[in-house]
Amino acid sequence: MMEAQKYHLELVTYLFFFLLLSLTSLLLSLPGQDTLWFDYKGLPLKWYIPTGVLFDLLCAEPERPWNLTVHFRGYPSNLLIPCEGEESVKWSFINSLKEADYIINGNCKNVMNMSQSDQVELWRSVMDGNLDKYIRSSSKLKLGTVTTDEADMVGQVKAGKIPVRLYVWKVDNWDQISYINRPLEIHKEGKYFTLHDALKNLLPEFFAGKSLDQ
């Protein structure tokens, strides 16, 4: 039995790195372990969801420190995507980035044609939770600028769409937590397009009677 340990976690990065950084020495001393995984109150944590999103989804009452249990055996493969280490996490991120690129630019070329060194740099910034570095290396992907009414010669989808991934939390069970990826069209009418506008667009029935409380 291990004693409770406290660690500082970057919310924008993935739990995997926390594992890598803090448990390496412990891992080396355990022969023949399975893939590692975490649970929070019995609910296995999905490594492909950024730590901060997990925290917000699962801790309605923010709990500090966040008490997680780490498991060394019995990976719940019916529920979680297998994790083959850092490569799995990195490609899960990059494949999401491709999807976002497609929504914004009508193709995935910016992400697919990234040079090896740009890719390494971008990934390192995510791992380190370094926002400045991330902004610098992701600017090459041209994912930030949303242009409206931009006529495109090739007829590609390019008119002001932003990728949104929305997680919706219901109760303490993964079957009740789902996400949708949805391109969202922005109609600028001289005002800001807010997250509230986006949510109203994605979940219209949610705004029909109730107020947004979660």
Partner: protein, 233 residues
Amino acid sequence: MGCVSPSWDGTLSPKDFSVAAHVFTERWERNKSASPSWFWVNSPKGPPLLASSQHVEGYLSLESMCVLVSAEDSNEEESCAVEEEAGFCEIEGAADNATLVQSKHHEAHYYDFHIVYSSSFRVPVLYFRAYCSDGRPLLLNDIEKDLPACSSKVLLETKWSFITMEEHPFLNRPWYKLHPCGTSEWMKLLCLGDEVAAKNGLAIELYLVSWFSVVGQVVGLKTPLEMVKSQRN
């Protein structure tokens, strides 16, 4: 029925997906009656809040497709007479274990296929999972052996952008997914490159038939020529 124009970008609207899905199941049924059928699933376990905001409220499903795999330790003469390559068999009632575990030299692998519409890519995406007759899920290493040789090769070369495990958008469980990021490009080539189709306009309702004639081959599922013919009943 809508036709595509020369400036078509190779994508499909959610509404056209539903239409094309029904044409696809109908034609599959007519031409591949011996194999399991495709059927439309109305998003059953869709999350309560999100279900109604899903633009496409369902997906296509074909379950319990059976592959007979030659057992590796078999060295008897009989085994030579059997097709060497693993292939999807089309046995009526393939879901019935009793008819399948008849040969000592073959192990049955089952495949479930789902065709899900991606709102991001605006194209259909193939998801699948595989399991043994005892229900044990197959890992990608095992699946790789069931795939046609060219797919196994691509899988080796581009491990992370061809087939990966991801969450099934409706079921929230890990399923294998064929990456869709090039789909609109090759659908454009496929449909506009064909002179006849370009002249007459490709019926958008045949999108899934054309799409599956390519994607199906990646996982060893062939589309009969009759299905692709554009005349209607």
